[in-house]
Amino acid sequence: MENESLKNLAIKELLLQLADDDFIHAYRGSEWLGLAPHIEEDVASSSIAQDTMGHAVIYYKLLEEIGEGTADWLAHDRQAHERRNAIILEAANGPGHYMKDPDYDWAFAVVRNYFYTQAKAIRIQSLQSSSYAPLAEVAQKVQMELYYHLMHWKVWFVQLLGSGHKEAVSRMKTAIEKTLPDFAGIFSLGQFGEEMVEQGLIEGEAAIQKKWIDAVTPIFESVGVATTFEIGMEKGDGRNGVHTEDLKTALDTLSEVYASDKAASW
């Protein structure tokens, strides 16, 4: 009995991690609308933000099915400390606000998007053989859309880091140095991680992190940039409800209308 409830808890936690990661990542993507380096890219990257939010919806629906509340409630009505996303994904796109003086950094967008998409692709691969059948099924579908997302961000990453343009290379390196120290938060499975692995829900943190390093290393090499991958969790583990001010601000914005009348139908 206790085992059963522990397993259910692990399933719930994993689904929350997957859903919250994609949800906040798509939210950050949606703030970029209208602000990308050129119009064609604005249109193309918006599709990725939409797809990603679509993935979050699928995970929230799985949670809804096991009685954790409606998808809309899960997305809009949980406090920061209840959220399970990795901290690196909640970080603001840059100083300023999406409506006023958005000093957004395309280099950070490209680096975070590429790193996360690559990690997501590996995680989805692993989830396809999850012992939790509904999740394994969903993972097969989500995987289809990741080919494009990954190609898209990889091209930007390679072209900008490999451009030989002084400012571009320096901005990209700064963005990499900003992303890696918190990137372990993506691989973390949180306090119920052991249970998740034991139950065969997903592969362990170390295995996924290794696959990620194996996947991105040749990309760095292809543009002649050396890196030691100092991956950490400096700001804490979002999987355990530790979050920054950036998430609180984002939650206030994304739930503003919803919170004006939670019982209403919108």
Binding site: H38, E40, E41, V43, A44, S47, M151, H152, V155, Q159
Partner: protein, 119 residues
């Protein structure tokens, strides 16, 4: 001196086909700094609501179009029945005399996948 920015915006023409057997069709054009970025932009800019099997992008400067004068060369008279089956329709009557069906286009194309043996 500041580098010329214009160069970031190269013109690419976008083509695609819906299925493996469909003809490639022209869509619209887009601006991108190079082929790899152009091909990444193409689907989501022009085909985000429709099925697509393949996408081609071509730098506009590599497409040689016809000038207005050259387009005049496309006109021709309507006197070339000898090039088409239309000029040989009379054979049907001839064959009938010999109690044979004419092997017309419909008949011949129906042989795809094998001819049924028999008298």
């Amino acid at each position: 001196m500041e580098p010329r920015q214009e160069a970031y915006f190269e013109e690419f023409e976008v083509f695609s086909r819906k299925t493996k057997s469909a003809p490639v069709q022209y869509h619209y054009s887009l601006l991108a700094p190079n082929e790899d970025i152009a091909i990444m932009m193409a689907q989501e800019n022009f085909m985000r609501r429709e099925a697509v099997d393949d996408i081609w992008i071509v730098k506009r400067q590599n497409i040689r179009k016809m000038t207005a004068d050259e387009k005049k060369t496309l006109q021709r008279m309507d006197n070339k029945d000898y090039r088409t089956t239309k000029g040989y329709g009379y054979l049907k009557k001839k064959w009938r005399k010999y109690e044979q069906d004419m092997l017309d286009e419909k008949e011949i194309m129906s042989w795809a996948g094998g001819v049924k043996n028999g008298e």
